[in-house]
């Protein structure tokens, strides 16, 4: 395993730029529920409106972190040399926990205004249910990752499930957002999300292809 810390000054600058760019993207994503109000926001008042809006903010941040999580997991030679493998692994673990927390907050704050006895279950609520499945899968994969050794699950066996499940969760989350929210139904936000999803997919493809060619 490579050293955990960036080796030189130029690497530190690159890491700082990467962190700053990520924070800017997350900040912009978090502002979406304020600048692109969904029609559901229009019909909520008082505390319900606040819950719904901050539920959407949590969801938007989680979406960014999930896409980032894929990049961190796939790594790639440049990212490894800039950040160090140990740092990326640690970041992957912390980011996973943060995503779980945000997704739970998102689900709770979105569902509370409509009532917890009024859950969106059924075929016509399929985008919400895709999000629900992603939430369960995310919690499960995080639980088994953190307690893998305690549960005596072998590394290879765990990774065999963890890796494809991670991609599937990211895909499910993107589909959930594209179809659950009316502000993502068309226009600039839809284009941006499709581009971001496509970009991450392309990154995975390039890194995996280069790795395959290297072998």
């Amino acid at each position: 395993m490579e050293s955990g810390k960036p080796k030189n000054r130029s690497n530190k600058v690159i890491v700082a730029v990467l962190i700053f760019s990520t924070l800017v993207i997350i900040g912009l994503a978090a502002s979406v529920p304020f600048y692109f109000e969904t029609t559901t926001i229009w019909y909520k008042t008082g505390l319900d409106k606040t819950f719904l809006r901050f539920g959407q903010v949590a969801g938007m941040i989680a979406l960014c972190l999930i896409l980032l999580q894929i990049i961190i997991a796939v790594r790639g030679a440049y990212l490894e040399s800039w950040c160090g493998v140990a740092n990326l692994v640690r970041l992957h673990q912390v980011n996973g926990l943060l995503i779980c927390l945000l997704i739970l907050v998102h689900a709770l704050l979105i569902l509370l205004p409509e009532g917890l006895n009024n859950l969106p279950i059924g075929r016509k609520y399929w985008p919400e249910m895709v999000g629900g499945v992603a939430l369960v899968a995310l919690l499960a994969t995080t639980f088994f990752s953190y307690f893998r050794e305690a549960l005596k699950i072998g590394y290879q066996r765990w990774r065999f499930i963890h890796r494809p499940l991670g991609y599937l969760i990211a895909l499910a989350v993107v589909i959930h957002v594209l179809f659950v929210s009316d502000v993502f139904a068309s226009g600039v936000l839809r284009s941006l999300l499709v581009s971001a999803g496509g970009g991450v997919s392309l990154y995975v493809l390039v890194v995996k292809t280069l790795l395959f060619m290297k072998k």
Partner: protein, 197 residues
């Protein structure tokens, strides 16, 4: 001899009264061609919707209104306005609170002939577990042999009523006061029912 005749006559009279009154024709719902529609004002436009899950128990004979009856049961969760988010909002505590009050029912208590195929159907309307008196004017659109199902009769009923949703606590009135959603809901009960000939 005279007393025997009197006994036989008395028994005959008793038997005649013992025969139950002719019950009204029972009609089975043709669900594919029936619905409970509604529309309500939204600022300047009208929002249309319907309930997709409901059942009915209908006994109807225009010549025997005393034995005729209507019972409607509507699953509130089946509300459909073609926008799932709006449906979920209508099911929430802001309106129907479907999780707590899953059904709306109407059970007739009396039916009176208002002429020209119109009937005033008075009964108990239960919404959010509170029962109110409600009279629905229902028109018998027609009765005839079913054109495609042999051996079946088909009848049509149209009921139109305007309900003040706030009187039934369907909404607190905040959206009405904001001038967003009207309080009067036009309801159309359109039923096609079938019976064996």
């Amino acid at each position: 001899m005279k007393s025997i005749v009197q006994i036989i006559m008395a028994l005959t009279v008793l038997l005649l009264f013992a025969v139950p009154a002719q019950s009204a024709q029972k009609w089975e719902l043709d669900k594919a061609h029936s619905s409970f529609y509604f529309n309500v004002d939204h600022i300047f436009s009208k929002t249309h919707g319907q309930f997709n899950d409901f059942k009915t128990e209908i006994s109807f004979d225009p010549n025997n209104l005393g034995e005729s009856s209507f019972y409607f049961e509507i699953a509130v969760k089946s509300i459909n306005t073609n926008i799932t988010k709006r449906d979920k909002h209508l099911q929430s505590g802001d309106f129907f609170d479907a999780g707590k009050y899953p059904l709306m029912t109407f059970r007739s208590k009396s039916i009176t002939d208002a002429g020209n195929g119109m009937y005033q159907v008075a009964g108990d309307f239960t919404v959010k577990d509170v029962t109110y008196d409600l009279t629905i004017p229902i028109q018998l659109v027609g009765v005839k042999e079913h054109p495609t199902a042999k051996g079946k009769l088909v009848a049509g009923f149209d009921g139109r009523v305007t309900l003040d949703r706030l009187a039934y606590k369907v909404g607190s009135g905040k959206f009405y006061e904001l001038g967003v959603i009207g309080k009067d809901v036009d309801v159309l009960v359109s039923l096609e029912v079938l019976a064996d000939k």
